[in-house]
Subunit: 194 residues, 2 copies
């Protein structure tokens, strides 16, 4: 690599992006050096603008530009789908067909990492529950996601609101041969009669 401090710092900056290792960061840094002045200015401007304009929706916690996101202002508020991160909403919206609204926790409970009830947007969820018929919990299927799901179920069920969790099972189009044990176990437990 070019042994200049500025180059090292540029590579280090790119390494902060998710999944970017030394080699990819270097590739990005070189391409940045090859960019003309206008493209670089546009790149920087896009970052600045996004950071300035994009805020959290005051209702659901998704990213938006105007205080309240499009989904919260137009959709059925009686069904709330609870996700860990804003990007999880993409998966649902890409799938289409879900008519309800979302709630982004911005994290999941993880007592080992010191992430407690106060650290994620649980209070905000509690304040949205009036009039809600169903809360679908769509946190990731890992330890922290499960813990969060059962905490939320314990909090919401007593209010007489239906609480559901996404089904576990084998992926559509996958091969059973390669399914991991836990997944297969859950798929067997939750088998459906035909």
């Amino acid at each position: 690599m070019v042994e200049t401090e500025a180059m090292s710092r540029l590579v280090a900056a790119f390494r902060k992006l998710p999944g970017v290792g030394a080699k990819t960061a270097q590739r990005y840094a070189y391409s940045m050096l090859e960019m003309d002045g206008e493209s670089t200015a546009n790149f920087i401007q896009a970052i600045k603008e996004a950071k300035e304009r994009i805020v959290l929706c005051s209702v659901c916690g998704n990213y938006c530009e105007n205080g309240i996101c499009k989904i919260c202002s137009t959709r059925d508020k009686t069904t709330i789908c609870v996700v860990g991160e804003p990007k999880d909403i993409n998966a649902f919206e890409k799938m289409g067909g879900f008519e309800g609204v979302y709630h982004v926790l911005h994290g999941t409970l993880d007592f080992q990492k010191g992430i407690g009830v106060e650290d994620i947007r649980i209070k905000e969820l509690a304040s949205r529950l009036a009039g809600v018929k169903e809360v679908i919990i769509a946190t990731n299927p890992d330890v922290s996601g499960e813990l969060t799901a059962s905490y939320l179920a314990g909090m919401i069920k007593p209010l007489g609101i239906k609480v559901s969790r996404l089904a576990y099972g084998i992926s559509v189009g996958s091969e059973i041969e390669y399914a991991d044990e836990l997944t297969l176990q859950r798929a067997l437990q939750d088998r459906k009669e035909l």
Copy 2:
């Protein structure tokens, strides 16, 4: 994806980086939104600084910060290794053991794309040849790299300077079964007696 203009522009900006598709760009954009203000400022600063400070070495055309790069100012100038892009130098320096200097063409001849002799740093190479004993041509082993190599050989050989080209052959550690035909053909042609 979050349907805001600022987000679309940020994703578009990241897509300009090499090998970054829609999904990766989106991932980077989300991580950018999650970054705190200081990290974002550092990220932007690193890009700005690199673009301001890093210039082309006035001798070899590699990136450097002080007008003349470290390699040009300390190494044996009688052997010049000619490469297409600054990043190609990394591969050689990582390998170690090469004691000569480099010359970066910043491109290779490609008449179909309209890249002619005047568009890459050939004139600059010509002006460095006094006192040089060998020019090693290390352009990529593709049509454009080959064309450039033979053009340079035609220009330099008449001056009584040795011109060489990197050897072609099977990769060390690879399996012959998977070698492509052209490579295997060259490996056979250039076979060495044991």
